[in-house]
């Protein structure tokens, strides 16, 4: 599990200063009840949301700058030609045999919170990768890790590339690994609490055939989970 963060007044003040002069992500904007602040033109991106189902006893979440669980859908304007590209596409991962479930659950369209809808990978840094079968201009990636308990996943990094090995031409569209513990580079996105509304990431038209999602455990246990990932964009 990610090391405990030591709260720092300096850190907090610095974060507030940065927050005041940067555009907010769809997640942060929705958490603050604000309108999206990404592109001026386009159509709203929509998806179906699963019902809320929270189980069990909440676990402490000692994570800095944590964006609380959304109570309404995040909003994002995307180009009119945007479609769902990932449904039914092949998923591979850093672990061939997940602990629970199968990698295909990630693109099967089911976002329910119950048993049998999620895939669980072992502890430590793990990744899953969606093959869109052809290069695409990606508008957004929408991620549901696990939402039957309020928790935050550590070191969430989302990358897009035409290289299946992610050695060249990699665009990082989201990174909340604030201390670079995954060695993929230090990120400035805010960690967030999972909810049925998922994590919506503005991909800003990044190009690539493959989408890779990293994580490193969560605030409740060491494991890594995915219920569903949607990649929205336009095939090239």
């Amino acid at each position: 599990m990610k090391k405990q963060h030591i709260a720092s007044t300096v850190f907090t003040i610095a974060a507030l200063a940065i927050a005041g002069c940067e555009k907010k992500s769809p997640q942060e904007a929705a958490a603050g009840g604000e309108a999206p602040s990404t592109i001026a033109k386009g159509v709203p991106l929509n998806t179906e949301f699963p019902p809320e189902l929270i189980e069990g006893t909440p676990q402490p979440m000692d994570v800095p700058n944590l964006v609380q669980a959304l109570v309404e859908p995040p909003k994002l304007l995307v180009p009119e030609s945007t479609t769902l590209l990932s449904k039914g596409k092949m998923v591979t991962g850093s672990e061939e045999s997940p602990l629970i479930g199968e990698l295909s659950l990630i693109t099967d369209g089911d976002k329910e919170a119950g048993e049998g809808y999620y895939v669980e990978l072992s502890g430590g840094p793990q990744w899953v990768q969606i093959d869109l079968e052809q290069s695409a201009e990606v508008s957004a990636v929408w991620v549901w890790h696990f939402h039957s308990q309020k928790r935050a996943y550590n070191d969430v990094v989302i990358q897009i590339s035409d290289d299946a090995e992610f050695k060249t031409g990699v665009t990082t569209i989201y990174n909340n690994d604030y201390d670079d513990s995954s060695k993929l580079g230090k990120g400035s996105d805010s960690p967030y609490v999972e909810s049925r509304f998922g994590l919506l990431v503005d991909a800003k038209g990044a190009k690539g055939r493959y989408v890779r999602l990293h994580s490193q455990g969560n605030t409740s246990n060491d494991s890594n989970h995915y219920i569903e990932v949607e990649v929205h964009g336009k095939a090239l």
Binding site: E55, G56, P98, L99, G114, G116
Partner: protein
């Protein structure tokens, strides 16, 4: 591992040392028997009986405890079983054997030392007794059983077999709770006379919905029927059915009412409860329950109010509050809900703070109000916090205590007899609510 030349087998050693300690010693009793270095390094062979949500929580907590070998997993749902096997393989690098049926597991696995029982409540007693009679020490999740007679049978089985049986009231091993009871309440009499208790566990509707499952993974009806379930909904949501569980007062309330009885050191004399299906109209169990227990302690009478609401999160989550003439302790598994408040008339606690027993909290801002009624209120109590915090998963200390006891290095913090003494009043809450009558609790109600 034990050598061939050893005089007694590992299992014999574990059994004899544990039997030597016996069940139900006082909290914090020093070890009577100690394993040798070789024995202490030996693995304890563990079976996981039931690998649903709670089974996973317990495995996560045990993953931090050295010296355990997870040898077998038993669950009637192939989905749970496969997941458990994979998680254990990832944890220990060795594949455990999987079983759907506990009888087959116990007949096959002859080198087991201990079982962790995390099946639905109505299976706790049969599974625990089977394991005890097979020569295993048992850690069984609370509530002990869905009926008081089934819980009684567990106590009798523990005492007849001489095996250890720890019940999963994990707060009994939580350093925060133990420190509060032993150092502050007993050691410093910090509350003065405890005159009232208040406890609650309030959950939002969103946290109380039926648990879903992917229908592609449903268990065959004949298997469900063999193990006492009408259908998959019952299997997933057994907590809402009267024949399978005690409902929210048992599922959530048992943890906290156990603390009432543990801290006071006595059982209540009466219970009066009210419950209803206020939101979840079709559930067999009440969704909201309120209960009053009356106690007689050596210091005087104590009334305790407990509510479990599965329809609202109002009121700040889950905690227990011990109100005394000199202080009130609010305590919870969550440190955020834990504070101690000194009455203005109580002796100062400067010495306790300087010696590290308490931490002073920042003073709360004074409320400025022109409200004339405010002048009749007592002065606001000063808030203090406990030193330190639990840095482990909440269940880990209780499991550590169990395995220490299996090794002969500790006494159980919550053996089945003590758990029964604490749980027995809870079995009378639903009958009181159903009859809308108070129940005077006699030895007949509370004894094994």
């Amino acid at each position: 591992m034990k050598t061939e030349s050893s005089v007694i087998s590992r299992r014999d050693f574990i059994g004899k040392t544990a039997g030597g300690i016996g069940a139900g010693l006082v909290l914090g009793a020093p070890s009577i028997l100690r394993a040798s270095q070789d024995e202490a390094a030996d693995k304890i062979h563990v079976a996981l009986v039931g690998f649903g949500k709670q089974g996973k929580v317990l495995l996560d907590a045990m993953s931090n405890i050295p010296g355990l070998h997870f040898q077998a997993i038993c669950d009637i749902w192939d989905y749970n079983l496969k997941g458990g096997i994979a998680k254990v393989r990832a944890l220990q690098g060795h594949t455990p054997k999987g079983y759907a049926d506990i009888d087959e597991m116990l007949a096959t696995e002859k080198s087991l030392d201990a079982a962790i029982v995390a099946t639905p409540d109505f299976w706790h007693s049969p599974h625990t007794i089977k394991c005890l009679e097979a020569g295993l020490h048992v850690y069984c999740e609370k509530m002990m059983a869905n009926t008081i007679d089934a819980a009684r049978a567990m106590v009798r089985a523990m005492e007849k077999t001489g095996k250890l049986c720890q019940i999963g009231h994990q707060r009994r091993s939580n350093p925060r709770y133990r420190y509060t009871l032993e150092q502050l309440i007993k050691g410093k009499n910090i509350c003065g006379q405890i005159v009232n208790i208040n406890g609650q566990w309030n959950r939002a509707v969103s946290s109380s919905q039926d648990i879903g499952y992917n229908p592609k993974l449903a268990i065959k009806p004949e298997i469900l029927a063999r193990y006492g379930f009408k259908d998959m909904h019952q299997f997933m949501n057994w907590r809402t059915y009267r024949d399978l569980s005690g409902g929210p007062i048992s599922d959530l309330g048992a943890h906290q009412i156990d603390i009432f009885n543990w801290f006071l050191g006595v059982s209540p004399k009466s219970v009066f409860a009210s419950g209803g299906n206020d939101y979840f109209k079709t559930r067999e169990h009440f969704d909201n329950v309120m209960t009053i227990f009356d106690y007689e302690t050596p210091q005087g009478g104590v009334r305790a109010f407990y509510q479990v609401l599965t329809t609202t999160s109002a009121g700040g989550g889950y905690y227990e509050s011990f109100m005394g003439t000199e202080a009130t302790i609010n305590i919870s598994e969550r440190s955020a809900y834990t504070n101690i408040y000194r009455e203005s008339s109580a002796p100062p606690w400067d010495d306790l703070v300087s010696r590290g027993f308490l931490k002073r909290q920042a003073a709360a801002p004074k409320v400025q109000s022109a409200d004339a009624i405010a002048s009749y209120e007592s002065a606001a109590p000063e808030a203090y916090a406990l030193p330190g915090d639990l840095s482990k998963p909440p269940h880990q200390p209780h499991l550590e205590n169990f395995f220490d006891a299996v090794r002969g290095k500790a006494a159980l913090n919550c053996d089945a007899r003590h758990a029964f003494e604490s749980e027995a009043p809870i079995y009378w809450v639903n009958p009181s609510a159903l009859s809308r009558q108070p129940i005077n609790l006699t030895a007949e109600h509370l004894s094994v």
